[in-house]
Structure formats: structure tokens, C-alpha cells
Point group: C2
Chain length 191, copies 2
Amino acid sequence: MARERKFSMDELFSAVKELLLIHGYEGFTFSLLADRLKVSRGALYKYYENKEELITDYMITELNQFLTDLQKIEHCEGFEAKFDFLMNLIFDMPEVQQLIKIAVQIPVNVNEKVRENKAHLDKLHLEMYTHLQSFINLGKHEKKLKAHIADGLILGFIFQTIAIPNHFGIPHSEWVTSIKEIISHGMFTNN
Amino acid sequence: MARERKFSMDELFSAVKELLLIHGYEGFTFSLLADRLKVSRGALYKYYENKEELITDYMITELNQFLTDLQKIEHCEGFEAKFDFLMNLIFDMPEVQQLIKIAVQIPVNVNEKVRENKAHLDKLHLEMYTHLQSFINLGKHEKKLKAHIADGLILGFIFQTIAIPNHFGIPHSEWVTSIKEIISHGMFTNN
DNA sequence: TATCAAAGTGACACAACTGTCACCTTTTCT
DNA sequence: AGAAAAGGTGACAGTTGTGTCACTTTGATA
């Protein structure tokens, strides 16, 4: 016994994502979002008390999605298959890195709900790193990854390179292939 | 015949930089800046009509500095020396990449001054790429850089990797050495 | 078809940022 | 000492965002 909603949760979150990436955390407002969803600003307050709650809620959903996909890395046999899987996964969600950076900016002292959400986010973030850590351990154990390079750098490297802006419009498949090659064997020739 | 200023141009710009990196373009305000400089907001309007003028002006100074330093790459003999020089240069200004991203967000339709500044910035940006382009050409000509990897990707890669956040506090020298190694020869072993 | 709960609206009061300006302060030059 | 010029201040009006709330709309169900 309820009226139909003018926007689905999916539409809401995809609008949040879009606006966050364009305007950044501080530039994101309920007014922008309401306009975008063709709804009055007041309607949004039926669901969230403030933008911090909304954004953290969205981030949790996004990170959960990423983690669910990431779990499937276990189905890949051996380091190289896992590496390929991971690269493709990250290429499908190139914004994850940027969103995590935005998440850090959210103040915690807004209310209890936000504190909870941030804690939840931290948990997910940690879980993500645990998974990736075991991937790196495998790579080093199989002697595929250089042992003397710090794990944190390997991780950071993989995430960061995905976010390289393709200013010159290089075709996607060439782009992906080349990035994989640089990450694996560098941009220098072997002479 | 004038009164002493409460802040130097250097202090102004370094405050702008700091606040920009923390709050992003939309989160940057004259109020924040005035507080930071311990000056009234009105004082800032003696120098700049709005934040767009101020930010673009700052960016021009920053990019000019970077370019001046970059020119010195010509003093290095051969590709490998130039590569080392460039890596060190970028490591000394890891924020350049992030600032350029912010520059893109500045709207052009504020006033004539801002339009001019943006055009100037574009010119400097292009000049920077021209320099780097000839660096890459040299690398490919000396057969040090893989010829089949697009120039735009090589550039993007170098810039982007510098900005990898060192979350785990790996010592700077190890960090730099490892990044150079990955860029040059990848993170895979040669088996 | 009458009811009721969820969804949505628009107005209100408040807070923050913006741009301007009359006025005050400090310094230097004559 | 007095004028001139640049630096600095605080208040004002305007705009945009925030959070709340009484009220209306919608649609399933009893």
C-alpha cells in the first residue's frame, strides 16, 4: 500500500556516482541530485538525513559489488589467470580508486549512522586488501612477481594505472593490452 | 609608498595549493583562504575578483615553475639520463597531475581574465607535452622504449604512477627506486 | 469505494559563500 | 606635517545550500 517511487535505488546511486565524480565530495549537493532525478529536494530527505549518509550508503553498495566480483578470483587457477581476471575487473570499474579517495574526505562527526557506515566501509576496504594481499602472496610464491617490491606498491600500482586518463583516445583493447604489458614487463626494451 | 602586505605572493599561493588539494575546486572558498592567511575576506578581493582568477593565476605560476625545471632536461645526455632526471623532477612535484585535473574543472565563462588564464594554461600544458614528446621520441629512437606502446600511454603512465599514495609508509628512497624499476621493467620476474 | 501509508511538494528559517564598498591604517614621498 | 597610494576591515545585500514540516498525491488493500 504505497505510491510508486519516481526513482529506483539504482537510478539514485548511479546519479550519486555521476555527480560525485564530476563535482567531488564538497561540490555534491542535494539540490544537484534532486534536479538530476527530477524530484523535489525534500523527497530525498525521506531516505537520507544528509549527504554524508547518502554517499556512504552508496559507497557501501559499490564496494560490496566490487568485492563480490573480486571473490570470483578464486575460481582462476594460478597467478597469471588471477592477474588477468583482476586487470579486467578493475578495468570494468575504473572509478573505484577515485571513489575510495572521496570516501576518505567524508567527515565522521555528522551522526551515528555516518560513523557506522564509515566503519563498515573501512571493513570492506580492509577485506578488499586482504584478498589482494593473498593474490600478491601467490604471485611472489610462484616467483612470478618480483619479491623485493613492497606489496603496498604493487597494489597501488595496479589500481592507479587503471585510472590513467586516455586523453588521446587510444582504442580500448590496445590500451588494456599495453597497460598489462607495462605493468608486467615495463616500457623499456630488453637490450 | 604603500603599506606592508600581511602575506606574500608565495604564502598566498602555497595556501591556495594546500586548500585546493584538501578541498578540491568546489570546496575551495575565499573564506577558507582568508582564515588560513589571517586576513579579512575583503582583502583578497583587492587582488582577485573571484576564485577562478586566483586559482588559474596560481596554476600558471606552478606550471611555469614546472616547465622551467623541465627545460633543464636538455642538459642530460642520452635517454637514460633524461629518464632519471624526469622521474626525480616529477617526484618533487607529485601534485602537478592532480592540479591539472582540478584546472580542467574551472569554468571558462566567468570573465575575460579567466578565459585568458585558461588559454595560457592550455598553452603551457601543450608546451609541457611537446617537451615530453621529444623525450619519448628519443627513447624510441635509441630503442630504449618499446616502439609499439602509444606515446600518450607512456606519458600518462609516468605521470600517474608518481601519484600512487604511499599508504603503508614505505621509505621514500625504496619507493622511488621500486617505481622506477616497475616502469622500466615491470613487476614480473623474467622467468 | 474508502482508507491509509508511502511518496512527493513547496515554503520557511537558518547558515555559508559571494561581491562590493565606505571607511580606516600604514607607509613613503615631498 | 600632509598628501597620496596601497593594504586591510566589517557590514550589507544577494545567492545557494540545508533541514524540517504541514500538506497533497498516489495506489494497493480491506
